[in-house]
Amino acid sequence: MEGRNVLILCEKPTAAERVAKALDEGGNPQKREIGRVPHYVAGRDGKRLVVVAALGHLYTVAPSVKDRNVFPVFDFQWVPRYEVERDARETQIWIEVISKLSQEAQEYILATDYDIEGATLGYTILKYACGGKEKEAKRMKFSTLTTGELEESYRQLSDHIEFPTVEAGTCRHFLDAMYGINLSRAMTVAAKQWSGRYAVLSTGRVQGPTLKFLVSRERRISSFVPTPYWGIEAKVEINGSLYEVEYERDVIESRDEAQVVVNECSRKKGRVTEIEVRKFLQNPPVPFDLGALQAEAYGLFKYMPRRTADIAERLYLEALISYPRTSSQKLPPTIGYRAILESLSHEPRYEKLSAELLRLRELIPKEGEKHDPAHPSIYPTGNLPERTLSEPERRLWDLVVRRFMAVFGEPALKQGVKASITVNGHHFFIRGRQTLKEGWIVFYRPFIRSEEVVLPPLEEGQEIEFKEVLREDKFTKPPPRYNPSSLLRKMENEGIGTKATRAGIIDTLYNRGYVSGERAVVSELGLDIIDILNKHCPEVVSVDFTRDLEESMERIQSGNEKMENVLSKAVNRLTPVLEELKKHEDTVGQDLSEAVRKARMQQRIVGDCPVCGTGKLMILFSRRTGKRFIGCTSFFKGICKASYPLPQKGSVKPAERICRTCGSSMIRFKMQSKRPWTFCINPSCPSKEGRR
């Protein structure tokens, strides 16, 4: 293994191991460690390849002014993460090791993920840890971590890393820091000046507009006033079986009118006046991009978008699926459809399905419109798991495999039947749905959610008896709440955030306490934050403004715009916003402090007071001893004396549920390094008898 030393830089340790195994001529690279940092030494073409991984980003963008009370700050630079982030201490040893290994190298290859983040993190490491090697480094491009693709990628090295992508990535980091740090500082400082208390308040370039979508929906739901309307529920008997039929009008405005329909149709005989049979083809679905995979996994398994992205990342690192952070819906033939299907056929459950596709003379995938220049859509590599997958991993892999197969399937042939039945001048419809030829559905069957309705034979003029006709009292409904999946889709449609960042931004909204629950409910704090930002700086929660910046970054990536111009435009737009916030610091601070105080109070409310019936039970502190207890909100006014003891150590917070035994509110108690414990606040609850 003598000759030139080549340093190959990967994004994650698992990827480094795979790259080293693929490139070592014997397939058995040596694993070494410096500190706790693993790296691999492989030999190929007389060269000594040293493959080392980063831990994601090792550098971050930070303001030159470190004092958190100072804003605006527009002077930002790349710095090691361990210098500015408390939970990133581990990155120091990684930077030192990469730096040491780079000194022994004569050639450099970047093998991080081929996307905007992969390119940017690689660039910062090459520039700062390796001592300015970003211009001489070559680039490996791949979409899967399979041996074949990695070898090919090494043979076809690019002469340089993708600089326009790096510029776009750097610009995104600078913009996010500029907006996030300045606006969050402005809000936090204003609140602290007013109340003297510190509270973490944040907004950001994408976070603000996303919260605004949620707030706008929340306002519509919370101020919604339903109006009554009526419908008709009817059942007819055909050949001894009962079938539901639809009335011609979905909405009847008055109860009397609905009652007339009931009276005129109940127990009457109608006639089939028309039968429409419609055959149609249902095309296969298109391949998965990340957003579509996240939406499908949420719909089928209720996995949050972030969880799906994490599982998909693990499957990618195990070389089971292709790179998941893609927005492509294309499957180029170069990925080798047949080879993938042949490999998958070794898995018993895909054997027959693969064989069915392999029998076709030509494999042509049904593709979607979306294209990603860096990667194809998500597809299985054909590799089979080397270990037992966890249930979520197995489900997601199965979903990707079956979707891949389904896109090559023939369209399904379906039949819809709609028969019109007339009774006393009123028209009803009965509908049937049936699949005549399954086509692609064969491959995707476990994930199909539509039901078949097979109708009995019907003919025009046939007499039908109405067995049951009922008036349905209904109300108009508010718009549905967003869930993490529909919110992600909304962000995607509005063109804000990227496929890599959207799930994280949704998580931040939950972590900050702006939103809670699976059906996203906006908290008072979330409502107030948007109200305050709308009042003082509407531009920072404007979707148009954020989208405009996203488009500018896309232009940088395609080489049609310069980072300096975009940053300077952003500074020009942000400066007056920050000046306005500073000018109204008192009002903003008062509004924010009140919002925070209300949110803190809300977090202490345990439930309704069972004694007075009007107050709320909340965590209170004794004015005499300072000890905490649960008492009614009227406790200190002397109106209601309801109180319950609390443990004085550990953290307590409302569990937001009631005791099944006695119906009292419950709290969640946690001591450091111990498991949390949820219990009923009522000391006389029968459920506690065993413990007494």
Partner: protein, 84 residues
């Protein structure tokens, strides 16, 4: 000034959120009256227990019932007028 219902700082009787709900209450009363033939007070009581009514709409309905505007629709109209 503080919102009579939630205590948010506001320049009128109700904050923007409750004002929006009260406008919706007033706007939809006609539809209820026409189809259900209910009085203003019955309407407010119905809204309070309706599962599809928003929480702010319920709060406004409750506020009107307890503040003596339950018998006259003008009560809400008056509130809305004052907020303009």
């Amino acid at each position: 000034m503080k919102c009579k219902i939630c205590g948010r700082r506001t320049e009128s009787e109700l904050c923007k959120l409750h004002e929006e709900a009260s406008k919706n209450l007033l706007k939809n009363y006609e539809a209820w009256k026409k189809s259900m033939n209910v009085s203003w007070e019955e309407y407010l009581k119905e809204i309070q227990k309706n599962p599809f009514a928003g929480v702010w709409a319920k709060e406004v309905a409750h506020h009107l019932l307890v503040s003596g505007f339950a018998n006259e629709q003008e009560g809400l109209a008056k509130d809305t007028e004052m907020n303009k």
